[in-house]
Amino acid sequence: MAYSTKVIDHYENPRNVGSFAKDDPSIATGMVGAPACGDVMKLQLKINDQGIIEDAKFKTYGCGSAIASSSLVTEWVKGKSIDEAALIKNTDIAQELALPPVKIHCSILAEDAIKAAIADYKQRHGN
């Protein structure tokens, strides 16, 4: 199966790889995994007092499509409010990266990582 040029670009030059300090109150962490392929994805968002995502980092152990999906998502969420970020759909990710049907679950994983990070933020900020 051939990867699209966008997947290869994100895979070879992943954006925003790394971690923020987990106990920093402005950092939200989303952890998700796909049992079927064993992929694990961590997405961290740096959120300011106005609820705007200032920065994002990811760490993904998985296939090229999973890495590309999370890399793309870190670019997309920056500058968005958490409500706007919550609207990012796996279908948008899959379309942007031209993922084949067997790799759709990678985009689902990335969407769920955003949701998990936002849930973590809301839980820690009591709303």
């Binding site: 952890m31 995994g33 796909a34 049992p35 064993g38 694990v40 961590k42 152990y61 679950h105 769920d112």
Partner: protein, 173 residues
């Protein structure tokens, strides 16, 4: 299709692999297409179909995770091919740490020591989860079946880790 029934084995997680192997050979002989070569077209077709079922059943029953999934499917809980994300932060954090440990191996001063450490952790956790899976499936009720499904999901991550570790070991040799 009930694979346990096909092999005349009790529908439970615990399984004697030697017995499974013996039954497999018996059934294979019984339904071997060559034995039905003189039969009608319908007979031949059925023998081919049955031989395929026997192979599928054998491969599913032999592997603990596929056997557990089949057992759950027979109880009405189908989890194979599911695409749902797994979202238990503590478990995933531990997976991430093990993946990081694996990633360190290639640059380590003593890679074998790290390989041993990772292998030990993976085997230990796998064993513990397989024990939990056994008792959850033995309980045979919907609540424990859902627990069993979650344990299977966790075990899949560990089987994947084990596979990754084996690949690393090969490149080290």
């Amino acid at each position: 299709m009930n694979y346990f029934q096909l092999f005349h084995l009790p529908a439970q997680f615990e399984l004697d692999l030697t017995e499974l192997g013996t039954r497999y050979l018996e059934l294979q002989r019984q339904f071997h297409p060559d034995k039905h070569a003189a039969g009608s077209e319908r007979d031949k077709l059925m023998a081919v179909q049955q031989a395929a079922n026997i192979n599928d059943a054998y491969h599913s029953l032999k592997q603990p995770l596929l056997r557990a999934e089949h057992l759950l499917a027979l109880r009405g809980l189908k989890i194979s091919n599911e695409q749902r994300s797994f979202m238990e932060p503590a478990f995933l954090m531990q997976q991430m740490e093990l993946r990081e440990l694996l990633a360190e191996i290639s640059d380590a001063a003593d890679p074998d020591a790290l390989i041993d450490e990772a292998d030990q952790q993976i085997q230990q956790q796998k064993k513990a989860l397989l024990r939990q899976l056994q008792s959850a499936l033995d309980a045979n009720n919907p609540e424990h079946d859902h627990q069993a499904a979650d344990i299977i999901r966790k075990l899949k991550f560990f089987f994947k880790l084990q596979h990754e570790l084996e690949l690393i070991e090969q490149t080290q040799d």
